[in-house]
């Protein structure tokens, strides 16, 4: 993308710390990134890397005050860190909405589809009766559920793919500028996943909506994201345009993720290189070395001398590594 649009979401130095009885856990550590209007940004990493905490922070959805937030999250002109519950309510559902991994637990099992959609319309748009019904039918047809009979259904009467379509419909009712999608296809079968990704691509194009797409699956990233942020141990380790990241990763962790994923398109599934060991504990103290040093196959002396800074690697690319992959390859040849 050549034009530099004003960002929709602007996160600066966000840290989220959860205090437990013995120690505090810093799940997100000094995170900064932007999402521009109409852009799909992927937030990628393994369990515990902080990707979901980041997304919950935007909507103020994690437990308060247990999860203490510092830094800044701005949606347009509005600051969300420290916003009051009523200010947040004005943002949630209206300007930003969210879909989750498990569409069954995010729908109320006691309510018919029309009641769940109707509640949103009444609360946010003050729409009732025939007007609300017309809006429901319109949004359902946009997510590929035609006909009125689905409005009468309870969640358990719908398939997993259908339920996720309902969740998407519910999230879109108020025309949000930003959709946060937290592993929305992880529980779905691949053929249904393909349908949902196609739907999200279409909706994004039609509505010029931004999506923050949280996933652990680099294949899914390649299908939908313009730009990708890789997280490890609560921090960003790499950021790049999708094709760049997948074809020439700079951070050894990104490379290791790609090399530990079995490939359907390579004979024998390709060769797998597991990442040994486990991610570090997330304490609130300053790191004395690179967070990935203990597991990094490319670790060298300098990696132990304090945490590397997140630096520009040309254009929008960022990397937090003193010995990036591609540059190493270049020096070797």
């Amino acid at each position: 993308m050549t034009h530099q649009a004003e960002e929709l979401l602007r996160i600066r130095n966000l840290s989220v710390t959860f205090a437990t009885r013995e120690h505090s856990v810093r799940a997100v550590d000094n995170l900064s990134f932007d999402v521009r209007p109409g852009e799909v940004v992927g937030l990628v990493g393994e369990s515990g890397c902080g990707k979901s905490v980041t997304s919950l922070s935007i909507l103020g959805l994690h437990e308060q005050p247990a999860g203490r937030m510092t830094g800044s999250i701005r949606l347009g002109e509005r600051e969300l860190v420290g916003a009051s519950p009523s200010e947040l309510r004005a943002v949630r559902g209206n300007r930003v909405s969210m879909i989750f991994q498990d569409p069954l637990t995010s729908l109320n099992p006691y309510l018919r589809v029309e009641e769940q959609l109707g509640e949103v319309l009444e609360l946010h748009l003050d729409l009732r009766g025939a007007a609300a019904r017309a809006r429901m039918l319109e949004i359902l047809s946009q997510v590929g559920i035609p006909g009125e009979e689905r409005l009468r259904a309870y969640p358990h009467q719908l398939s997993g793919g259908m339920r996720q379509r309902i969740c998407i419909a519910m999230a879109l009712l108020c025309n949000p500028e930003l959709l946060i999608a937290d592993e929305p296809t992880t529980m779905l079968d691949v053929t249904i996943q393909a349908q949902i990704l196609e739907l999200l691509r279409t909706l994004r194009k039609q509505r010029k909506m931004s999506i923050l797409f949280i996933t652990h699956d680099l294949g899914v990233v390649s299908e939908i994201c313009d730009r990708v942020i890789v997280m490890y141990a609560g921090r960003i380790v790499e950021q790049a345009r999708t094709a760049e990241l997948l074809h020439s990763p700079l951070h050894p962790y990104t490379e290791a993720l790609l090399r530990s994923t079995p490939r359907v398109d390579v004979p024998g599934g390709g060769s797998l290189h597991p990442i040994g060991g486990l991610p570090p504990r997330l304490s609130a103290e300053k790191l004395e070395e690179c967070a990935f040093a203990a597991r990094c196959p490319r670790v060298r002396q300098g990696c132990r001398d304090g945490e590397p800074a997140l630096e520009s690697a040309g254009g929008e690319r960022l990397r937090r590594c003193i010995a990036p992959v591609a540059e190493m390859a270049a020096t070797r040849s």
């Binding site: 369990s47 079968d189 053929t191 393909a194 390649s222 359907v264 398109d265």
Partner: protein, 315 residues
């Protein structure tokens, strides 16, 4: 691989469940052979019957009809006592290592129980035995006094595998064993399963929805759709030249890192219910290549290179 009697031989196996007003044909006429030392992957989408089939083989689901033999002896209709030796030969490893380990047992207790029950160790040497097992799955034996909650997901899956290996089985039924793990940990577990197989000549019936994992670990692949096998192939032939239209659609649906937004049109519709399977070929309502014969006749498995496919186009 030898052409002797297969380790596991399944013929026309059916598992039907009667529910209110309908009969769910979860597994509906499956034939399978599994050879010693072989990994056969069972793939398909939710509700295709792959887990029901595996659970039926270990006696966790009642078998409606058909035969299943392990080393030439039937697995069906056994009394509890007669079934016990088979329980040893056939071990199940589950998806969720959080739910499948007893939280109130230490790791030593978890492993000692099957060792003692099946006479693989005595009170005097059980500790040595279980330390060996832990070392084999790459865990430090010094951790054996700990409880499951003190381990990560990957470590717990290693413990589950150690528990299955404790009774020296010939066949491991692995039901989505890496699905709950992060990819870096999944790769560790897949490598462990491979090395254990080489060491003990174990066979795996490997159930998964992840076709990347399949290509990495399986020798042959059975693709299931609405209770039936629609394609059974050697792994590389399946991935290089899928024969059945459903397999083709399944492979095309997988997002891959090597492709830049060249997504084919997704398969339309959803998997039909096993309570009301479509007439004729069960895939015909979603198949782009269906013709007049498909809704009328039920296709057999027809031979194709490296296996068989249940499609008239392969006849």
């Amino acid at each position: 691989m030898s052409d002797l009697t297969p380790l596991l031989k399944v013929r026309d196996l059916r598992v039907h469940f009667a529910t209110e007003g309908s009969l769910v044909r979860a597994v509906d006429g499956v034939d399978l052979d599994l050879r010693a030392g072989e990994t056969l992957a069972l793939v398909g989408e939710s509700g295709c019957g792959k887990s029901t089939l595996a659970r039926a083989l270990v006696g966790l689901n009642p078998i409606t009809s058909g035969t299943a033999e392990l080393k030439g002896r039937t697995l069906i209709g056994l009394s509890r006592a007669a079934a016990r030796p088979f329980r040893r030969e056939l071990q199940l490893v589950f998806q969720d290592p959080y739910a499948s380990l007893n939280p109130r047992f230490t790791i030593a207790q978890t492993l000692a129980e099957p060792l003692l029950l099946h006479g693989k160790a005595s009170r005097s040497n059980v500790d040595d035995k279980l330390c060996d097992l832990l070392a084999q799955v790459g865990l430090d034996p010094q951790l054996r006094a700990r409880y499951p909650h003190e381990f990560s997901g990957g470590q717990r899956q290693r413990i589950s595998i150690a528990r299955a290996l404790a009774v020296e089985p010939s066949l491991l039924l692995c039901d989505e064993v890496t699905s709950a793990l992060d990819v870096s940990i999944q790769a560790q577990i897949l490598d462990l399963l491979r090395s254990v197989q080489q060491k003990f000549g174990l066979s795996y019936l490997f159930i998964t929805h992840d076709l990347g994992v399949v290509r990495y670990i399986a020798h042959r692949v059975a693709v299931m759709y609405v209770g039936q096998i629609v394609e059974l192939r050697e792994t590389e032939s399946l991935f290089e030249s899928p024969a059945h239209p459903y397999t083709k659609a399944l492979l095309a649906s997988i997002p891959r890192v090597s492709r830049d937004h060249q997504t084919p049109a997704p398969l339309l519709g959803e998997v039909p219910s096993a309570a009301r399977p479509p007439s004729g070929c069960r895939f015909h309502p979603r198949c782009a290549l269906a013709f007049e014969r498909c809704p009328k006749e039920h296709p057999d498995l027809y031979p194709v290179s490296g296996g068989a496919s249940r499609c008239f186009l392969n006849q």
